[in-house]
Amino acid sequence: MLAKLRVGRFDPETSSPEPYFQEYELEVEDWFSVLDALIKIREEIDGTLSLRCACRASICGSCGMRVNGRAKLVCKTKLDSVWSPGETLTIEPMGNMPVITDLITDFTSFWDKVRQIDPYMQPTGPEPEAEYLASDESMVHLAGVMNCIMCGCCVSECTVLEVDENFIGPAALAKAYRFVADPRDGKAEERLKDLNEPTGIWDCTRCMQCVEVCPKDVDPMGRIMVMRDLAMEAGVKSTAGSRHTDSFVNSVKRSGRLNETRLTIESIGVMNIPGQLAMAPVGVKALLKGKLPPVRDHKIPSKKAVGEIVKKAEGKN
């Protein structure tokens, strides 16, 4: 059958390099992956098309690209799962990274961020006579995150990186979790302190893009959420993020509902006068529009039952 592919091109060696799309038509088989189609283009139609690939078995992490606007490993993506005869399939380089040429992106910032989280074991205490021991139970939850092949798909679709290139990002934060949660590592608290800073764990918006596009089910956002909890449990200094979570939980515990106005005030910090003043104009406008929720709680009749459930979960029963 005949397939039509619209492929992102970019040649840095022209006098004024601009990205553009080029369309290719080719015969494809029903067993083709998207990568098979791209390799066929390169080998039979246009030898100038640049792309990165190696293992063709979703192990090396080289062939991340945007397929119809969303990052995927093209070797793992069957053509017929994203394309039907008569349609045009769009292939672009991944996002949130500079393009070197055509479908190849520059991973420099990706690796810089992985290095930033000290991606190696840092045991403390006396060295054991033989190997460092860890029980199966303490390691099994790390199996998923160790599946990460550093393909960059999560980084490509990260909503925060789109507006802030300094955000550590999902791949490096998932890697950080891999060490924070490893019982053999002795620097978990120091790591959490670093990750608690701006550009770290609290800057994630929980949009779940990374969870959705990860071809290896690493669940980067889930790992970030666990590190938020671990940071709060470890008493790492208060941040707007931890105040936000605490205020939210306390509101539900008191009343069964969210108190949006108190959430705003408490997240900013009651004593943070400049922060409160900066938020004031929006608050005043909402008040004038008759839509500023009251500071007092909106209590549900069964608030006590909800409060008991929250307290039990907090281990205070």
Binding site: C207, M232, V282, A305
Partner: protein, 297 residues
């Protein structure tokens, strides 16, 4: 059609116009609702950061209440819907987990057997009510207007918990409903992106850049308004649009952000005031004039 209705904290708080416009529209459609007054906040993914099981327990508690009433649940908030779908997904795959949660609900005399269906109004319209029947209630053809859809992350991801494989039309439900009003859909990448609200108090610069990017892009593509099934997105896209645009763009945006029921209500002939559009932070005046012209008022 009858549902156990969970409006969510924000429809009962910061976006009261969502609650009132929903009630108007449901009345017109003949959909009966019984409000779940004893349901708690879903946790919105925030409470889940602290304790996933606590979040799931609170949502299963709501499912159990609806099960006792013998009714499916209707939500009007993407975040509530997503978090509830995730909770349902977790307990439906793990009976031991459900049993553990039921132990915590026993004190209140509640037990969940797993049978409650929870759907956002948007899904109900597309999957159960039907767009043809919906159109029968429209008296103003909104042809000529351009609306940009904005789903809210929780109605888009994670797709497995939201049942997209089983019900593929969910993925494009908002576009379908916009088209049913006669309005043109403005397609843009931001329609399925994050509004930035979760980090508004944590990294306001980043949050506002998201607001400015999405509203600005939609405006540049000719949108007359943005339509969202998520009141949390509305809080940021409407409430902070002025500040966001001032900080990040040289040109004005002034894009009205409509709650889904407000758009339906305009097509049904309700006045902007009845739909609470005067309560928005971004003026809806120009849009009101345009709809007025289409209605021949």
């Amino acid at each position: 059609m009858k549902y156990a209705f969970w409006p969510g904290c924000v429809a009962l708080g910061g976006t009261p116009e969502l609650y009132t416009s929903t009630k108007l529209v449901l009345g017109k459609l003949g959909i009966e609702v019984v409000e779940l007054v004893n349901a708690s906040c879903t946790g919105a993914g925030v409470l889940q950061e602290k304790n996933q099981k606590l979040g799931d327990t609170l949502n299963v508690r709501t499912f159990a209440q609806a099960e006792q009433m013998g009714l499916p649940i209707m939500t009007i908030c993407s975040t509530c819907q997503g978090v509830m779908s995730q909770a349902q997904h977790a307990v439906s795959r793990d009976s031991d987990y459900l049993a553990e949660i039921n132990t915590d609900l026993a004190a209140e005399g509640l037990e969940y057997h797993g049978d409650t269906v929870t759907k956002h109004l948007l899904w109900i319209l597309v999957e159960e009510y039907g767009l043809d029947k919906l159109k029968e209630h429209f008296v103003v053809d909104l042809s000529g207007l351009k609306f940009a859809p904005f789903y809210g992350c929780y109605m888009i991801r994670p797709s497995d918990a939201l049942g997209f494989a089983e019900v593929p039309e969910r993925e494009t439900s908002l576009e379908q409903v916009i088209e049913a009003t006669g309005a043109e859909v403005v397609e843009f990448r931001g329609s399925r992106a994050c509004c930035g609200l979760p980090i508004l108090f944590i990294n306001q610069d980043n949050s506002l850049k998201m607001v400015a990017t999405h509203t600005g892009t939609a405006k540049d593509l000719g949108a007359d308004a943005m339509v969202t099934p998520c009141p949390l997105c509305h809080l940021n896209l409407d409430g902070f649009q002025g500040k966001a645009v001032k900080k990040n763009r040289s040109s004005a945006v002034d894009l009205p952000i409509l709650h889904l029921p407000q758009m339906l209500g305009l097509a049904m002939g309700f006045s902007a005031k009845e739909l609470g559009m005067n309560k928005h932070m971004v003026s809806t005046g120009k849009l009101q004039d345009a709809v007025g012209e289409l209605a021949g008022v």
